[in-house]
Symmetry: C2
Subunit: 205 residues, 2 copies
């Protein structure tokens, strides 16, 4: 059903070990960031805590900060997949809302907690912003698939993308900060902002 083969290869011993060290690196990185702070943790510390060399760290993550968001890549891919699924046939704003809602609802709370904890560390904000930018780009591209690439459409698409991600970020940070579930409120705000097209009942939920 996905628009690209969800490649489920047998996963040999090599891959398993690779993923293992990657997971180890990420876990130790996050643990150390929380324990002693981002700036106070060196890549060498993380690497040796995970039992590998410093150089190996950079074979798995492009920057020190990236280790704090280990599954970012696959999550963006997953998001894009869901967005593109059955793309050309539905009202794009409606579909966007469905995908967003599904994503929010299937995001497990432990992830929310970790996410917001990390957003609190100022040094990781940059990485977070880069994450957001990937989503914004994906959403804008999707909308322009429907609306075209004339400047007016491009403006609308980018504005909507930035707005959606902006509201989501606000919900995640405020919700995480107070330990509240504000996902409904976020959805509600978006619904009000984007008016009637966003107003339709969600049959597929």
């Amino acid at each position: 059903m996905g628009h690209r083969p969800n490649d489920q290869r047998p996963l040999g011993l090599r891959e398993i070990q690779r993923l293992e060290t990657r997971k180890n690196l990420a876990e130790h990185a996050i643990r150390l960031f929380k324990a002693q702070g981002f700036d106070e943790t060196t890549v060498e510390e993380i690497a040796s805590a995970a039992g590998v060399s410093t150089r190996t760290f950079f074979l798995h993550f492009p920057t020190k900060a990236a280790a704090a968001f280990p599954d970012h890549g696959e999550r963006v891919i997953d998001f894009v997949d869901r967005l593109m699924d059955g793309a050309p046939h539905v009202n794009p704003m409606f579909h966007l809302r469905v995908v967003l809602r599904a994503r929010l609802e299937t995001t497990d709370p432990s992830r929310l907690a970790r996410y917001t904890l990390l957003s609190t560390v100022p040094e990781l904000r940059d990485e977070d912003s880069r994450t957001d930018r990937d989503y914004e780009e994906a959403i804008a591209d999707y909308l322009m698939l429907h609306w075209g690439r004339e400047p007016e459409a491009e403006l609308r698409a980018n504005a909507v993308a930035n707005t959606v991600i902006g509201v989501a970020r606000a919900a995640l940070s405020v919700g995480g900060e107070h330990g509240l579930d504000v996902r409904g409120a976020a959805d509600d705000m978006l619904q009000r902002m984007f008016g009637s097209p966003f107003d339709e009942p969600l049959h597929s939920l």
Copy 2:
């Protein structure tokens, strides 16, 4: 009229020279970034082009990227000043719109061009995001001044702030890219998104 003294000291010889070197550093930095790229330009190059030592560069800018946005600090301060001016008496969303519109209209085109050129360089996006975060924080703080700091108000304030900045960023980037003036369209989008309170005529313009 500002909520803090707009200190206009006599500006001694020392300050003049300091500002001069700062301006020089920023100009050479931007010139070199455009000419040869961000990563291909070292701080030492910038410094020696401006006729000062490398160490001096970091007395003026905290990072290499910051030199590309030399007046960011004062612009944020100016924005906050205008936001806080006569703050408690008006409808906050209305006032926000007035300030935003005024800021957009008084932003000179050369600045727009430079801004968007820089936003194109991926290595400067982070700095740009940090800039945006300062504005978002200012707007959210302002709105919470009126709405209080309960979680619901905080969510709304942050969502509005992120939305406003998101739309502004979209307008700047798309407008800059195509050489179009999309400020009116941006204002229009915000007006539609935020409904009636944003709908009032702008007497002060």
